[in-house]
Structure formats: C-alpha cells, structure tokens
C-alpha cells in the first residue's frame, strides 16, 4: 500500500498551559491546586458565570423574535460600537470624529489575528512580510504564533521584565524602541501584562508613547483584562486612550473572555483608530475580505450578550459590579498571599505580589522550584513561575504559602 501522505507529519508538542491543566486533572492528590490556566475562579474554586450574563442569557432565550441568521461579516453592529466605546471611552475624540471602527472577532486571539493579517498585507507597503514585529519578553506565548502564522518573517523581542528587581525594565524597553527600525510594529499589553502582571505607570506610558511617535512605531494593543485588572474600566484603558489622544493610529485587540466570563463564546473586538473616516472605512473593507476567508462571519451568542449588557444603563452597572467582584477577590488573594509569605519569613521580597496587577503574578520561582511545587506539593503553575491568582482560595492560601516557602528554602 502506498505510504500515507501524512506519514511524515510529526507529533507536535502540546500547548503547555493546557497540558498543565490536563496533568492537574489526572492528579489524585487531595491537596492539589491549579494555578495554571488564566480563568477566573470563585473562592470555592469554581468557574463563575456572571449574574448579569445569566440574566441576559435568559432574556435572549425568552425572546422569540430572535433567530440564528448570519451576522454581517464584521459582526453585530451594536456589539462593535459598544465594545469600541468601552475601550476608547464615551467622550473619545476619535469616536466624535467618526474615525474608529470595530471588527467582531473570535476572542482576543481572533482580533489579534485579523489585525496581524491586515498589517502583513497593507502596512508599510503591500505584503511586506519583513516589517519587524516586537513582542515583550516575556509575553503570552501565543502572540508569537499569531504573527508568524500571519506571515511576518521578522519577529523580535523587546525588554520588559527585569528579573533582578522584579519589575519593569523601562530603560531596556525604551532602548529597544530607539533601536527598532522605523515603522516596526509593537505589541503592547493595555493593562495587566501577561504573564508578569507588571504595567508601566502613566508617566512611563508617556515616555513610551513619545519614543513611538518620534520613531513612527505602530502600536498594537492587546486588551484582555479591561476592568478585571484594577476593577475600573477607565483606569485599565488609560494607556490606549492616551495614545489616541496623542494622535496615534492604532489597533486594539479586545477580549471579553475574562471581564464577561464568556470564555467559550469567543467574544472579541478589533478596534481600529485612524486619521479620518475615509481611511478607517477602507481599512474595514479590507479586513472584511480577511474575515470572509477565515470564518466568514462571527458567532452571535456572545456578542448578543455583551451588546445587550453594554447598551442598557442598568445592566451595564450590574456588569461593572460583577467585574469589581472578580477584581476585588484577586486583590484580596494577593494581599493574603503576600502577608503569609512575609509572616513565614520566606527569603526574598514579596511586595511584587501586591504591586503586580491582574490575574497573574510572576512569583520569581525558578524552574527547579516550580518542579518541586508540582511534583512534591501538587501545586500546578507554569515553568516561568507564573501563577493565576484566581486559583487561590481562602482554603488553600496557607498550603500554597507554606509550599512556596519550602520551595524557596529547599531548592536553589
């Protein structure tokens, strides 16, 4: 029999974060804790469907006038407009001047991919695959794959995390921007940097923006945690809005997976800010072509939930409240973990746990210590030392703190 055409297809390694969860599931130890995947958990360690989402889903289910017809290629208009408004602010000059647009996408990933595909085709010339794309070190590991698969040939890193001082390496970052070829694309985390939880301060953002403007660098924001990071939508969108006020044209890939808890409905939006209406319209028309060959038109359920919520003052208020509930629990777990480590006298400093923001914390644990945590203590975290604060509960805080203490003191 002729050999299969696929006989040479190699086995790909599993995606690390999902493998971690798979290993966790198979672990029979009753003390096990999953600090891996980035999804919110309640203090009972359970997924949480936001009360406002439940309410809106019931409204949708009861509405017999709704059907399952195709959405337009660019998505549900009420969703796109409201989603962009959330990112840019009600009083955004760009919205007033009608020079923004949105593309409803399959989660934040989908928004990044549509933006990347567009940039490869139309930015800095036509089909210029040589335009450098800069991604922070470290970053969400899928950023790299998105831009590679979109066809970019020159993916580079920019300094971000200073391991020694456990904070932002601003000078390294700015140096990289000074040295980057003009017109390079920079992927910026709008807030709650994944995985470090370390964001630039407003002053630092101003410095970043100044360099980017002078050197004609393109800002591509990834906003996956708006509201979830600080508890305030406006605060978490400060950087994006600052760049808009400074006159930048930019993209912002928004995800509603975390702040709406709509992970599996794949709700995202690519917000485009341009110089004027005409440019934005042409950009959207070309993005439409890209969407048409990727998924034709986006899924309706999640977009309906978000659009309904954002366009009703009462539901919007309820949503903000739900978001604050999540953000507050994360903040509480941060302070509780830090105080325990300090009380135990765990070597090192632990203020970074409360200074970092969002779902994740870069603990500073090294790979050997991480391995100890997993193998000996059945506490699952990424090899980078990244933990998901949502995996902490009042019940497991003591165990996790003690285990970190052991790992740091026993393993070097």
């Amino acid at each position: 029999m002729a050999a299969s055409i696929f006989s040479a297809v190699p086995r790909a390694p599993p995606v690390a974060v999902f493998k971690l969860t798979a290993d966790f599931r198979e672990d029979g130890d009753s003390r096990k804790v999953n600090l891996g995947v980035g999804a919110y958990r309640t203090d009972e360690g359970q997924p949480w469907v936001l009360p406002v989402v439940k309410k809106v889903e019931q409204m949708i289910a009861n509405d017999n006038s709704l059907n399952h017809e195709y959405l337009p290629i660019l998505g549900l208009p009420e969703f796109r407009a409201n989603a962009s408004r959330i990112a840019l602010g009600d009083d955004s000059p760009a919205i007033k001047e009608n020079r923004i647009g949105g593309v409803q996408s399959l989660g934040g990933t989908g928004a990044l991919r549509i933006g990347a595909e567009f940039l490869r085709r139309w930015y800095n010339g036509n089909n210029n695959t040589a335009t450098p794309v800069y991604i922070s070190t470290p970053s969400w590991e899928n950023h790299n794959s998105v831009f590679v698969d979109a066809g970019f040939k020159d993916i580079r890193t920019y300094h971000y995390w200073d391991a020694a001082k456990r904070g932002l390496d601003l000078q390294g970052l700015l140096d990289d921007m000074e040295k980057a070829p003009e017109f390079s694309i920079f992927i910026l985390h709008a807030c709650a940097h994944n995985p470090t939880g370390t964001d630039p301060t407003p002053d630092q953002w101003k410095q970043i923006a100044a360099v980017m403007k002078r050197r004609f660098l393109f800002p591509f924001f990834d906003s996956a945690y708006q509201g979830f990071a600080s508890g305030s939508l406006d605060k978490d969108a400060w950087a994006v809005r600052y760049f808009v006020s400074e006159g930048f044209e930019l993209f912002c890939a928004q995800s509603f997976s975390k702040n709406f808890g709509l992970y599996n409905e794949r709700v995202g939006n690519l917000t485009v800010v341009g110089k004027d209406t005409d440019n934005v319209q042409r950009v959207l028309s070309q993005m439409e072509k890209i969407v048409r060959t990727t998924w034709s038109n986006p899924p309706s359920q999640g977009a309906r939930i978000v659009a309904t919520t954002l366009s009703s003052p009462q539901l919007f208020a309820e949503w903000k409240d739900n978001v604050k509930t999540m953000a507050d629990r994360v903040l509480l777990m941060r302070s509780e973990l830090r105080s325990r480590l300090e009380a135990l006298g765990t070597p090192g400093t632990w203020n970074h746990i409360t200074e970092q923001i969002g779902m994740f914390s870069f603990t500073g644990l090294n790979p050997k210590q991480v391995e100890y945590m997993i193998k000996e203590k059945h506490i699952y975290l990424m090899a980078s030392g990244r933990i998901n604060m949502c995996g902490l509960t009042t019940k497991n805080l003591d165990y996790v703190a003690k285990s970190i203490h052991e790992a740091v003191t026993k393993i070097q």
Binding site: S4, I5, F6, V9, P10, A12, P13, V15, F18, A39, Q46, V49, V53, E57, A61, H68, E69, Y70, I73, P93, L106, G107, T109, G110, R113, W122, Y123, N124, G125, N126, N127, N128, S145, D149, E182, F216, S245, E246, G247, E249, N264, E265, R266, G274, D276, N279, V280, Q281, R282, V283, S285, K289, I290, T293, T294, S296, N297, P299, Q301, G302
Partner: protein, 388 residues
C-alpha cells in the same frame, strides 16, 4: 488634538509612496470591492416595490419568506438553558461530543473508520472555518502539490480561502451551460490524473435530498474505495444554525497513531487563529445529534425544508409552462439543494432586477429557498418575460 506628522519613507522599492498631505498609515489601502452577494441584498433592501424578491443569499426561508428556527433547535436550547452550564474554554479541537457525532453523521455510524479510530475531527467555525483549517493544514503538510482544483463554477469563497492559505487554484470542468447540467466527460478529462487528494465540502447533508445518508453517499463511497478524504461540514443550513458557526473538519488517516499526530498539528494551526471554538452552536448541534428523540425530530424537519425546496422547483417549472414558455426548464427540477443555476444571461438578470425587482446574482443563480407558493407565479411570469 491629533498631532500631525509627516512620514519619512523607507528606501525600499516595496513601500508605496505616502500621500503628500499629512497622512495616515492607510492612505494606500484600496477600498475592497463590494461582496457581490451582499450587494444584491443591499439593493433589494432599498427597493420599494412590494412584489420584490430576494433570491440572492443562501439562507432557508419558510413558505411565508421568513427565517425558520427549527423546533429541535429550540428544544436543545431549552435543555441548555435549564442545565446552567459554565462558560469555560473548550479544548482547541472543540466539543468532543459534537466532533464525534459529526464524524458519525458524515461517515455513517457503522463506518470502519470510526471503529478503528483512524480519523481526526475538529470543531471548525462552520463551513468556512473548517475549509480554512484544512487549507492551512494542506499548505503546511501536503508537500506533493500547491494546486487545488475547484469545479467550475464553485462557491465564490472557495477561491480566496485556498489562496489566502497560500495555495494555487486550478479549475476542472463541471457545469455545462448548454445543458445546465454536469459536464461529466469534461470533468473526467480534467480529473484523470493519479494520486489525487480529495477534499469534500459538505454543507448540505440532509438539506439536499431530505435524506442524510443519501446526501453522504459520495463521501462514504470514496472512503469505501480506500480514498482517505478530507471533509468539511457545516450545520448552518441543515440545522439553521447560520450565525452560531457550527462546523467540523475531518481528516481520514491511515491509522489511529497517524490521526493523533495529525490532530496535534491541527491544534497548532488553530491556536493562533482563534485559540478554541465557540460553544453555543456546537452544543446545540451535539444535543440534537446525540439525543434520540430530538434527532428524529431533526430528521423530519430537515426533510421538511428539503421537500419545500423541491416543491418550489416543481411549481416554478409548471408555472413557466403555464406562462407558455417554450424553453426546456428541466434543469430546475434536475438540480438539487438550495440553489438553481437558471441559465439566465446577465442581460436577462439585469432586466429581472430592474423591471421586476427580482434580485439574484449576475450568473443567474437563484436561492430556491427565497421562493414561496405566494411568489412563485410572479417569478415564473418574470422569467418568461425576459426569456421569450
């Protein structure tokens, strides 16, 4: 206040010159041509003629011309609402109950392929997304050729999907405009090469003849003949789940071990596209396929849709005869599925639009789903007027 700045140009030949006024990054971005099918709907919407008909877009309509939400879909949705499930991420490959049931639907539950496990099925974003996953996979792993053969004509979106995936398009003869039917000898001539990779696009299983097994005959026959096919499935039409984007992509492999390797690579492709698929449509479809009495109801409903379309075809032909048309309209009832290639020429289509407010694409394709017992007479009359 927007700060205006001038851009310096990179000294590379590929960079298009920026506009001379203070400019946007996007000054050189051309307006994309309007989608021909959407353009039809747009024009239809603007038309104030009460007799207007939209025969452009391929979405099913009931005999009142309204969208139809299947009862089995409503039942599945009620079950979902009552269960209060969480919204956690699906695995990259999608909902397992859904993908397994999808494979069974396509291959037949007694398929040796299913028993041996020598296949992989991943959830895709309806038909388009499933096709695109396959196209990207072939571009990455099918080293024997870069050329994809599409029938002439084919769905308009096939070409850009494969092109965007990095493949090249060729055509094989398919439709004979003289007979308005299959150019079998032409197709055979163009297809007679060896070692062809076969990729089935199955968007209408059940919806075409009313019988899910009959509509899957070709796919199953090829597999029985030892051809390891690729399959893209859509639940947009046969379950009316259009906007929920429920679909699946399958590769038949030599053995289960190969299937695992292939699956791991599909995940690597999917993750940087959209990470993991949307749940809602897949969950509805899964409940329908996996719950015996709901599945039975679905089979009746999909047959109902197919029967209505077949009946509209029949009525259109008989109405044309009544109008006194001397042309041979047999192809209208010979053809199957949602669409009909009427054989009308662009000038005739133009007249139908302008004089009768009947909208269709320039190639003379009509969506039979847009025809009702209320307007079939008007349609026949109009067609006769422009063809007599």
């Amino acid at each position: 206040m927007a700060l205006l700045y001038t851009r310096r140009l990179l000294a590379t030949p590929r960079l298009v010159a920026a506009a001379t006024r203070a400019s946007s990054w996007w000054s050189h971005v051309e307006m994309g041509p309007p989608d021909p099918i959407l353009g039809v709907t747009e024009a239809f919407k603007r038309d104030t003629n009460s007799k207007k008909m939209n025969l452009g877009v391929g979405a099913y309509r009931d005999d009142s011309g309204k969208p139809y939400v299947l009862n089995c879909v409503r039942k599945a949705e009620a079950m979902i609402a009552s269960k209060k499930m969480d919204k956690e991420y699906l695995p990259i490959g999608g909902l397992a109950d859904f993908t397994r049931a999808s494979a069974e639907l396509a291959l037949g539950e007694n398929s040796e392929v299913l028993k041996s496990g020598r296949y992989v099925t991943v959830q895709g974003i309806s038909g388009t997304g499933s096709l695109r996953i396959g196209a990207n996979f072939l571009q990455r792993f099918f080293k024997s050729s870069r050329e994809v053969y599409l029938p002439k004509p084919s769905w308009g979106n096939h070409t850009p999907i494969f092109r965007d995936a990095g493949l090249q398009l060729q055509a094989y003869r398919y439709y004979d405009p003289k007979t308005c039917s299959l150019d079998f000898s032409g197709a055979m001539d163009d297809i007679s090469k060896r070692n062809l990779l076969v990729y089935f696009d199955m968007a209408y299983q059940g919806f075409a003849s009313g019988d899910i097994n009959r509509d899957a005959w070709a796919v199953r026959y090829f597999i029985d003949q030892g051809i390891n096919v690729l399959i893209s499935q859509s639940y947009a039409k046969n379950m009316g789940l259009y906007g929920e984007r429920a679909g699946a992509f399958t590769i038949i492999c030599s053995n289960a071990e190969e299937a695992k390797r292939v699956e791991s690579q599909l995940k690597i492709l999917i993750r940087p596209m959209y990470s993991n698929p949307p749940l809602n449509g897949a969950r509805i479809a899964s409940i329908i396929l996996n719950t015996p009495d709901i599945r039975k109801e679905w089979l009746v409903e999909v047959k109902g849709m197919a029967d209505r379309i077949i009946s509209m075809r029949t009525q259109l032909v008989s109405n044309l005869k009544k109008e006194g048309s001397s042309h041979n309209w047999q192809h209208i009832t010979d053809q199957i599925g949602m669409f009909c290639f009427t054989g009308l020429k662009p000038e005739q289509v133009e007249r139908l639009i302008k004089e009768f407010s009947i909208y269709m694409t320039k190639d003379g394709r009509i969506s039979v789903a847009g025809v009702t017992s209320g307007n079939v007479g008007y349609l026949a009359h109009a067609i006769h007027q422009v063809t007599k």
